[in-house]
């Protein structure tokens, strides 16, 4: 016969700055018996309004002593009160929680390095004379987006309760919370901090996507202002619709890691930026399209590879725990779709221009990745390959179409993120097995996302344009933003032609 001793320990003592109030369970301290625990939980329950079939959890430990050997397990104790008023207790070990949390943290770190990926891709696909500016943008985006997302965005995206319909809510500024609610009881597989870490990386990614479309002509201060608003307010609002409990859920919206909420949002912002800014000098002259070649393909390749690398964390971590079948399935579907994207883009570009285009192939991988991001958890290998291949074709076509529309997007942010992101959302409706997720619901959802993101970004860019100005002077653009905005060169000493 086992003897159970339940001792509840407040495990978190991190003296965090907390701007939020929270109800803390009154039960803590050592030596508390089962009955006293039940009693106190019940007491605090009785104060609440709804008593039917609800539960409270607290971190604690459980010690088993048997045959002279004592064993202690840490985990979460949940007290559930059923409809008949009877309470029952259950204990869940935190072993898997540790594993899931480690998994999520590494996924977040993988997503972090995607920002170097965005940076390198953009540097490589643009001209040498703008490299310092591009690096500056991409580096500071991470900082600015993290800080603003921490200050307000996170609590807009996960507002708890919505204040305007299921459209907008805000849980107050700042990070942190009640000790005891940020650990194992916070979620099934990650702590509050891990959640923020992972989410902040996504917010920064959304802003980075815009960066690629507006590069080589946008003023640095104007861009940073845009990013602050986009990552701190617009993205979180959109995110709350899907992941924060908002109205997209009513349509059965399924978007694992953000084909729509992250990529299409960023892509729509990119489109707005490219339109408001207009094309780079020399891109469209007398109705003819000219190519402005990227200056450093090895750096671009590093970028594409690192994005690919980080995407395993982006999608894998979005399951929000380390469940073996789920996460490994997601990773494989992610890989299959990206490889199909590469092959499809290669073949189509080979047919269209007679020679296989490296820049299209790099974009093809990203297209496949963006495409599978919504449904990596709900499709089979065959469908993953189809989704990726279609995305690979779409990106090639969209790059060409965009040029026809005279919209200048140096790195292909719109084709990759907006077009393939939208495709990914719809494809999840077509091929996915997610419950309640329909093609129609997905289409309605992606329309809401794209229209809102585009309109907001368009308005913000326009306001910036008419106030402090959005675009550098023609002279500065010709000489390069590195000298104009930063007074510095990227490749000091190299002899570089800057005639384009």
């Amino acid at each position: 016969m086992n003897k159970l001793i339940i001792s509840l320990l407040c495990l978190m003592t991190l003296g965090v700055f907390s701007s939020q109030a929270g109800t803390e369970l009154a039960v803590s301290g050592e030596g508390i018996t089962l009955e006293s625990f039940k009693g106190s939980v019940k007491a605090s329950w009785d104060e609440l309004e709804t008593k039917e079939e609800t539960s409270a959890s607290v971190e604690g430990s459980k010690t088993v002593t048997d045959d002279g050997i004592s064993e202690t397990y840490t985990g979460v104790i949940t007290y559930t009160i059923a409809a008949d008023g009877e309470g029952s207790l259950s204990f869940e070990s935190d072993d898997k929680f540790w594993t899931s949390n480690v998994f999520m943290m590494f996924c977040a770190v993988l997503v972090f390095i995607m920002h170097l990926g965005f940076c390198c891709l953009e540097v490589g696909f643009s001209r040498a004379k703008n490299s310092v500016n591009i690096i500056f943008k991409n580096f500071t985006i991470v900082a600015i987006a993290t800080l603003i997302y921490g200050a307000i965005g996170f609590n807009i995206m996960y507002p708890g309760d919505f204040s305007i319909g299921s459209f907008f809510g805000f849980a107050g500024p700042g990070l942190g919370g009640t000790a005891g609610e940020m650990g194992m009881t916070y979620s099934d597989g990650y702590t509050y901090w891990t959640d923020f870490l992972f989410q902040a990386m996504f917010a920064a990614a959304t802003a980075s996507i815009v960066s690629g479309a507006v590069c080589e002509r946008i003023k640095i201060n104007s861009f940073l202002i845009f990013c602050t608003i986009f990552a701190g307010v617009i993205y979180p609002i959109i995110g709350s619709w899907g992941w924060g409990g908002g109205f997209l859920g009513d349509w059965g919206f399924h978007d694992l890691a953000g084909s729509g909420l992250v990529h299409a949002t960023g892509g729509a912002g990119a489109l707005a930026g490219a339109i408001v800014l207009g094309p780079r000098i020399g891109k469209y002259v007398n109705g003819k399209t000219f190519a402005i070649m990227g200056h450093n393909m090895p750096i671009a390749a590093i970028g594409a590879f690192l994005l690919w690398f980080g995407w395993f964390g982006f999608n894998g971590g979005s399951q929000l725990n380390g469940d073996p079948m789920g996460t490994s399935g997601i990773m494989v579907m992610t890989l299959l779709a990206s490889t199909a994207g590469v092959v499809a883009a290669m073949i189509l570009s080979w047919i269209l221009s007679g020679k296989p285009d490296l820049s299209m192939v790099l974009n093809g991988a990203l297209a496949g990745l963006v495409g599978i991001t919504a449904g990596a958890d709900v499709v089979s290998p065959l469908y993953a390959v189809i989704i990726g291949a279609v995305a690979g074709l779409l990106v090639v076509v969209a790059v060409i179409a965009l040029d026809k529309l005279k919209i200048d997007d140096p790195v292909g942010a719109v084709p990759v993120h907006l077009v393939c992101g939208s495709w990914g959302v719809v494809a999840t409706g077509i091929f996915g097995t997610a419950e309640g997720c329909t093609v129609l619901g997905q289409i309605k959802s992606i329309l809401c996302i794209v229209v809102f993101a585009f309109v907001c970004a368009f308005i913000i860019f326009t306001i910036i344009k008419v106030t402090i100005g959005l675009r550098v002077s023609e002279e500065e653009e010709l000489e390069g933003l590195d000298l104009g905005e930063h007074g510095m060169e990227a490749y000091s000493g190299f002899q570089i032609f800057t005639n384009q």
């Binding site: 000298l483 007074g487 510095m488 002899q495 570089i496 800057t498 005639n499 384009q500």
Partner: protein
Amino acid sequence: MKLIVAYIQPQKLNAVKQALYSKEISRMSITNALGAGQQGGYTENYRGVEIEVNLRKKVRIEIAVNDSFVDSTVETIIEAARSGKIGDGKIFIYPIEECIRIRTGEKGTDAIGG
């Protein structure tokens, strides 16, 4: 035969090239150069230290032409390269004594042009 060497703003290269082509002057050699002229320099900044940069990026165009083409070539370059701002560049004309086409061994006036 004359050698026309023009230093122009890098961003004018395309315009100058097009203009010359349209005049059927399609032979030229181009190098990168750093130039100091009236334009003056600018200030860079690196790790808190100012850097006076007085060498600006220029493109050097070399065109060898028969004497009859000199004027039209010069005019064409001026037209295309001129913006009216300081830094527009300069053209120099040098005498050529001989010109030989490596492939055929042709010399002089024949070798320079078509």
